[in-house]
């Protein structure tokens, strides 16, 4: 086994993270830990710091305060990068190369266990892209791109997967397929950190961090969070914790509702989730 993870099972340990972009605090004193083998969700509205948090775990953002440890190493460390799979929020691939060529490229960058060609085919099968593998990325639809991007993040069999809104633009059916796949990877012992806006997805995580304005509102299993808030839905729970953080003034509505409405435009699966009525932010009291 790897010699670096001796003391505890924390795969990611972030302590007191602060990241400022000009006057904006993208991360504002964030502390959280993710254990080995967890499926950990990051739930928060636009601009709440999900991407910034993920990037600081990868080592692409240097926090102004605090530190991140990944697999026991302080980030950034060249030791961890080959063990992390990072799926960026927008499918970052080479447009003029085919899916297969993209995968081969990343395979050579990271190094793959076993034969590169075998691994590429394996990942292609995993995301159901085998028959489109010869298509240039430029010619792929949004959802197909997203799948190709996921394949690139999986290519080197990383033990920690960081997925930044992996299912945006993916149709509901494939979304289920992908989540089933995440479950399978998780069952194989991979740690997964996934950011999302979609409540149903969040509820499939073992634990969720509710984020707002770079701060942790609450953390726990979906059930714990709902029970703690006395809410029936994840969305209501989020609003409860948000208003609690605002000092209980229920008048100040969180932007999560706005976000929920915005994403329902593009997001087929959102239709089913119950968006709370306009004034219903503080319905628990």
């Amino acid at each position: 086994m790897t010699p670096t993870t001796g003391r505890d099972d924390a795969v990611v340990q972030a302590v007191g993270l602060v990241k400022r972009f000009g006057s904006i605090r993208a991360l504002d004193g964030l502390t959280l830990g993710v254990q080995r083998g967890e499926k950990y969700g990051l739930l928060g509205p636009n601009g709440s710091g999900k991407t910034t948090l993920i990037r600081s775990i990868v080592g692409l953002v240097a926090p102004d305060e605090g530190e991140v440890r990944v697999l026991g190493e302080k980030v950034p460390s060249p030791l961890t990068s080959s063990r992390i799979g990072y799926m960026t929020q927008s499918a970052a691939l080479y447009e003029d190369l085919t899916v297969r060529e993209n995968l081969f490229f990343f395979a050579r960058l990271f190094g793959t266990p076993g034969q590169t060609a075998d691994r590429v085919e394996e990942v292609l099968r995993l995301v159901h892209l085998t028959d489109r593998s010869g298509t240039p990325v430029r010619a792929l639809s949004g959802g197909l791109r997203q799948r190709a991007s996921l394949a690139a993040a999986l290519i080197h069999e990383p033990e920690l997967l960081l997925l930044d809104e992996p299912t945006v633009g993916v149709d509901p059916e494939l979304r289920l397929v992908l989540w089933d796949h995440f479950d399978r990877l998780n069952a194989l012992g991979k740690t997964i950190i996934v950011s999302t806006h979609v409540m149903e997805e969040a509820e499939r995580c073992g634990r969720i961090a509710l984020l707002r304005a770079g701060r942790l509102l609450a953390e726990g299993s979906p059930l714990e969070l709902k029970q703690g808030a006395g809410a029936a839905s994840m969305e209501a729970a989020y609003l409860h914790y948000a208003s609690q953080a605002d000092g209980g003034d229920g008048g100040r509505r969180s932007s999560m509702t706005d976000e929920g409405r915005r994403s329902s435009r593009t997001d087929g699966a959102r239709r089913s989730s119950r968006t709370p009525p306009k004034g219903g932010a503080a319905d628990e009291g």
Binding site: L60, S82, A92, E101, F105, F110, G111
Partner: protein
């Protein structure tokens, strides 16, 4: 950079652990992956390939055509007032026609000057009364007067150069006409003897400019293409992916060097061969040495392209580097005007530009036929530029992470 020295003993390639991703073999593999990727991307873009290989050839043929076009016939007014005894004017006119002048007789000197002034003729020739007598008695061609219109300095210079050449050939033509075959023609009196160390009077303008073109095209295309390519890497987010991978910054830069270098060197080879074999440019030195110089310049262009791409947010802003980075190099590198005739401050500026050294070295090889040893100082300076911009670019890559 950082990791290279520490592991090597790292337990071998067991699984996807830390040992495998670092050390030398991994470094080569990653650098190679980037280079291969760039080459594949190029292959997907036939228009850019055409631009790289066809555009310089087209432009050079055009320039070659324009430059050699100078020998087209030019009509010159002439006043023939020579008074013998035996008129040598027909011989003179034959020689002049051989130099591309067509002579059109006018009334007298005043008429000639007036018509040149009005722009009817670009030049006029006055054959004085004593022309033939002077030649016979060995007093030279002092009774000839050339009147130039002069508003086009290049044309005027060209006319007087051709005129001087004609005069130089005159004694030989006279000898052929009047003396027995085989007799030595008299040297024209008053003609200085000019010896060329390199080149010669028939070193065409194209041959003189060829080294500059080769340098310019290689730099121009390589710089722009690298810049745009690297910019896209940042804009599309693939840079994030690269930086999240075990790849080192130096490996990215070297991968780009190799990937773009392949095309840039192919381009240089095409330009050189085309210039030499199709356009008749004289290559005094070896192609190989010219190539080494070219390779160094191309490498400078790649690392400068990466460096400057950080200061552009989109492709349009890359285009803005043409007047900022490229044109000054063309103007100041000695491509157009020799460094020696520049004002002092400009000369200092020129010395800060990589193209100046490439130009100098390429001229030494192509025109003077010097070997690799003679251009080592220039190559060393180009190497310095490569090191400098590699460092700067690598620093920028790191800074943009944070």
């Amino acid at each position: 950079m950082k990791g290279e020295s520490t592991t090597r003993s790292g337990g071998g390639p067991s699984g996807h652990g830390r040992g495998m991703a670092r050390g030398r073999p991994g470094s080569l593999r990653r650098t190679g992956a980037i280079a291969v990727r760039i080459i594949t991307q190029f292959r997907r873009d036939p228009r850019t390939i055409a631009l790289i290989f066809v555009a310089p050839v087209l432009v050079m043929s055009l320039l070659g055509y324009v430059i050699t076009e100078k020998t087209t016939t030019l009509t010159v007014a002439v006043v023939r007032s020579d008074q013998g005894p035996v008129s040598l004017v027909p011989v003179l006119e034959r020689v002049l026609e051989g130099k591309g002048f067509e002579l059109s007789g006018v009334r007298d000197q005043d008429d000639l000057v007036a018509r040149v002034r009005e722009g009817e003729f670009r030049a006029g020739l006055i054959v004085g009364p004593g022309f033939s007598a002077d030649i016979f008695s060995g007093r030279g061609a002092g009774s000839l007067r050339l009147v130039l219109e002069g508003s086009d300095a290049v044309l005027a210079a060209d006319i007087s150069r051709r005129f001087a050449q004609a005069l130089q050939e005159l004694p030989e033509a006279l000898a052929a006409t009047f003396l027995a075959p085989g007799a030595a023609p008299p040297t024209p009196p008053g003609q200085p003897v000019v010896d060329y160390v390199y080149g010669g009077p028939d070193l065409g303008a194209l041959s003189y400019f060829a080294p500059g073109y080769v340098a310019f095209f290689a730099f121009f295309f390589t710089f722009l293409l690298t810049s745009v390519s690297f910019l896209r890497e940042r804009a599309s987010g693939t840079m994030e992916r690269l930086l999240a991978s075990p790849v080192q910054r130096s490996e990215i830069v070297v991968g780009y060097l190799v990937g773009f270098g392949v095309f840039a060197l192919g381009q240089s080879l095409v330009i050189l061969l085309f210039a030499v074999y199709a356009l008749g440019v004289k290559l005094a030195g070896s192609l190989g040495t010219a190539f080494v110089v070219e390779a160094s310049l191309v490498a400078v262009a790649v690392v400068m392209g990466i460096f400057f791409s950080f200061y552009a947010r989109n492709e349009l802003q890359v285009i803005q580097f043409i007047p900022i980075v490229i044109i000054p190099q063309i103007v100041l590198s000695g491509f157009i005007t020799p460094l020696e005739t520049m004002h002092e401050p400009l000369r200092w500026l020129a010395l800060a530009m990589p193209m100046t050294y490439a130009n100098e070295a390429l001229r030494a090889v192509i025109i003077r036929g010097l070997g690799l040893g003679a251009v080592l100082p220039e190559l060393a300076i180009l190497g310095g530029f490569i090191a400098l911009f590699t460092l700067l670019a690598a620093r920028l890559i790191q800074r943009r992470i944070a």
